[in-house]
Symmetry: C2
Subunit: 210 residues, 2 copies
């Protein structure tokens, strides 16, 4: 069996094991057994539990970012509104996290497993936030908004949106009954924020004194 | 000097040290020196670095939750709209995280320092999400919304809002110049979400096909 096939089997088993038991409690014996290989082979290929976990994070991170970029890219046609790209990107994000709950669980919980892993997640978050910032800035400029808005508020909004999406994906995957579909979850977030964002772009502001 | 005063000094020094260097790299020697006490006294009072960090998390968690509850409680007068309570709660949250950046840094980064600490943070997040869920559900019912909405969508919205607020607080504290005031940050989030939320409560829905 070619090495890449064996490695993929090991990573599949590792993602499942880490998602089920957490990084500390997952056992290398179980992961090897689940992958149908010997434990020494796992160590030969992936070196250590830490390296195996890092490899899992990197694979799942790349898959998630690719899914989101694919989603936003689908609307990358002349005249496509940033709003549609954001919608497609959110649909792709929630479809991916719903289809790969173990991968999302590994990514989401890697944050809690110490600095080297948390750094991987911070880099992923920064990558997605940058993409969302670009989309929101384009939406603002499309709507004839001045650049000060794009510089100052869009960055905050992008962070808010990514934080909200992350929390919603955890919430959606944790629901055992009446779990919303990925599109429903994406629509929840669009409902939640797009109307407000659209108003902001037009210059309207919420006020505590209204 | 009474024990509680000494303990407070140790916790103040520890929060500053953990915020500056992170949990792993912070030194017990430096924390003791900063607190103006001997290292054995720190161990006598707080037992271990892990217990000291846990004590920091618990103190900062209690202070943050109290600040947010205080903010939402201020509008707890007959006829106060949930919208105003949410606004006051957000203002209190961002004022607190801006005034105690070290405390917020400890809380925010504790998530990355292993399961026991991450559990404390998860419990804090659940506590605040519950408060936000109640406020949103009240707002929905105030607006004459049926209970199905309150059950299903409000829970997702509360998670989205808490995730967004967390991300925004990190973003605001990281800005070295032109840092927004707590009220500006709170208004960013209200602008972002309230109009959308208000529309949702009224039954309006965002649609990809409009």
């Amino acid at each position: 069996m070619p090495r890449e096939v064996r490695e993929r089997q090991m990573l599949d088993a590792a993602v499942a094991g880490f998602a089920r038991h957490g990084y500390q409690a997952a056992s290398m014996d179980d992961i090897a057994e689940e992958a149908g290989v010997s434990k020494p082979l796992v160590y030969l290929y992936l070196k250590s539990k830490e390296d195996l976990f890092t490899a899992c994070i990197r694979r799942e991170r790349a898959a998630l970012v690719e899914a989101v970029r694919g989603g936003t890219g689908k609307s990358e046609v002349p005249g496509a509104r940033a709003e549609q790209q954001l919608w497609k990107g959110l649909c792709a994000f929630f479809a991916h996290t719903a289809a790969r709950p173990d991968g999302w669980s590994v990514l989401h919980r890697a944050d809690t497993q110490g600095e080297p892993f948390a750094r991987e997640i911070a880099a992923m978050r920064a990558e997605i936030t940058e993409l969302v910032t670009l989309l929101l800035a384009r939406a603002a400029v499309d709507a004839g908004c001045d650049e000060k808005f794009a510089e100052r508020e869009v960055s905050g909004l992008a962070h808010a949106m990514v934080g909200a999406a992350e929390s919603l994906a955890v919430w959606a995957n944790a629901r055992t009954e009446a779990a919303p579909s990925p599109k429903e979850t994406a629509a929840t977030l669009m409902n939640f924020c797009w109307t407000g964002l659209e108003q902001m772009i037009k210059g309207a502001r919420w006020s505590p004194h209204r």
